[in-house]
């Protein structure tokens, strides 16, 4: 797989997002799981259609970026579009966002059980 984004001219990324370089919010974490709620339709922007296909099963934002070969920041903008149109839903992480906040002990127990069974 080629390195995403690296060889893309900036004007391609400009076109993909209609000229926007920042998303309205940072609502989409790298590990927010995105689920398509509709199928792509003819005439839809190809990146939007690709996201809907990839997200037929839950897919993290960072994986979508990797599959599309686009920087995460661009993918956040595209996801914001689809979300605003009700074409995707987002399952946000249930962990505190602050770097120094400790996670719920129940989640940690689940993680330990999962890791020990690997």
């Amino acid at each position: 797989m080629s390195r995403p984004g690296r060889d893309d001219a900036p004007d391609r990324l400009y076109t993909v997002t209609g000229g926007r370089s920042r998303s309205a919010s940072d609502a989409f974490d790298l590990v927010t799981l995105v689920v398509a709620e509709s199928e792509p339709f003819r005439g839809m922007q190809s990146e939007h259609a690709a996201i809907l296909r990839i997200c037929r099963s839950p897919t993290a934002v960072v994986e979508i970026a990797s599959y599309l070969g686009l920087p995460v920041s661009i993918v956040r903008i595209l996801l914001g579009d689809l979300h605003a149109e009700g074409r995707i839903t987002a399952r946000h992480p249930r962990t505190p966002a602050a770097a120094d906040a400790l996670p719920d002990p129940e989640i940690l127990k689940q993680v330990l059980v999962g890791l020990r069974s690997l």
């Binding site: 995403p4 199928e39 296909r53 993290a60 970026a65 966002a97 996670p103 940690l108 993680v111 999962g114």
Partner: protein
């Protein structure tokens, strides 16, 4: 025109439809210390790579026409994933430890469970900045010494070289081994659990 998702995602297994909680652990360290090796050892999928970009100007820019002439930094990072149960998936990120990547760190650390600082005892100075940054953010971490077969150093020597406080666990590992890499993650989560328990009010 409607190609299958597998054209884009390759042969990677999709997550279960019930998965609703994504967790993050960051593996940081200098070049060549084995971050990607460790991610590959425990990941359910072949590690993927993606990029994050940031303009030096930072916040509040809505239009690329404002960004002309401003410096955009793009860096790549690797990641893998481990499905833990029907609802939970753990993402492991390998992040370069060099100072110039501070902005990626700030993003990756947000909401992360904790971090593994992977060190090569022949190049301990490569991890100083990473440890500083983690301490600054208050992100819990452990240090894992990847065994490169170099000259032996005692754990105490490594602790002193890294100026590690006594409550930060230091473990040995072989990043090529799935079991060993898994045990590093378990050591981190055990450490987190201890921290959580310790912060609960005494009776």
């Amino acid at each position: 025109m409607d190609s299958a998702a597998s054209d884009l995602t390759g042969t990677r297994p999709p997550l279960r439809s019930t998965v609703d909680n994504g967790l993050k652990i960051v593996v940081v360290g200098g070049f060549g210390v084995g971050k990607t090796t460790m991610v590959r050892s425990v990941s359910d999928i072949r590690p993927l790579s993606t990029e994050e970009t940031m303009t030096q100007a930072g916040e509040g820019i809505d239009d690329l026409t404002d960004v002309q002439g401003k410096k955009t930094t793009t860096i790549a990072f690797d990641f893998g994933r481990i499905s833990l149960d029907a609802r939970t998936v753990l993402y492991l990120f390998g992040a370069p430890g060099q100072e110039r990547f501070w902005f990626l760190w700030d993003r990756l650390f947000s909401g992360t469970l904790g971090a593994v600082v992977l060190v090569d005892t022949r190049r301990l100075a490569d991890s100083w900045y990473a440890i500083d940054r983690l301490e600054h953010h208050g992100t819990p971490f452990i240090v894992a010494r990847n065994d490169f077969g170099g000259p032996p150093h005692s754990a105490q020597q490594v602790r002193e070289a890294l100026d590690l406080s006594d409550d930060v666990p230091l473990v040995e590992c072989d990043a090529r081994s799935r079991t060993s890499s898994r045990d590093v993650l378990i050591a981190l989560v055990d450490h987190l659990y201890t921290l959580v328990s310790g912060r609960e009010p005494a009776q």
